[in-house]
Symmetry: C2
DNA sequence: CGTGTAAGGAATTCTGACACG
DNA sequence: CGTGTAAGGAATTCTGACACG
């Protein structure tokens, strides 16, 4: 939807934007911390959101976290967000005029 | 500054996003309707702003406008914006507390 | 004028592997 | 575990030119 989520940036540019090596970026994808799209030919396409996430990942790695731990933490946060959205949705269904 | 202005998208992706051929995109650059950045190696890097502008350009071409005319119109609009900003700046300098 | 195309070369990216630790 | 690197190949992009009109 937003420009933030459009997967349009190649790995070389992501490397420049984040300061990470292409090797690091590919590895974080392998560990499923990010999920770039692919072109027909197979080249990775990242979003600005991915770029931001990569910077956070890099910081966590520097702080001594392992990719498996970062992934678990990411999952927790994602689930928390989904849960909150569902609750908000049910509230809105029960009280249609309510504004949060 | 904004994601809108970051020159990070390669011509292939721009082609997909706009539906224009790479030939068309390069030609519009040659006619100075857009100004992509270049990587060290020389590959073009576009912004989302460029993508939007390309769509507008394509529409104008379809409407029978020539690139030279589109460029003149663009210049006019840019100058108008600069003029408005200067006026606003001078007003703010003269009346520091004023809010527009 | 605006666009398609074939041509040849260069820049970019990809994967799988070996290395270190 | 996280990252560097050399290797070979494939995908992507570049320019200048010819063509059509």
């Amino acid at each position: 939807m937003s420009y933030r989520d459009k997967k349009v940036i190649t790995i070389g540019v992501v490397s420049e934007l984040t300061g990470l090596s292409e090797r690091q970026i590919r590895y974080y994808e392998e560990r499923r911390l990010i999920h770039p799209d692919r072109s027909k030919g197979g080249t990775r396409k990242f979003s600005f959101d991915d770029v931001e996430k990569l910077v956070r990942i890099a910081n966590q790695i520097e702080d001594g976290w392992q990719t498996s731990e970062i992934r678990k933490q990411d999952l927790k946060e994602t689930n928390a967000q989904i849960r909150d959205k569902m609750i908000a949705g049910q509230l809105n269904a029960a009280f249609p005029s309510r504004k949060m």
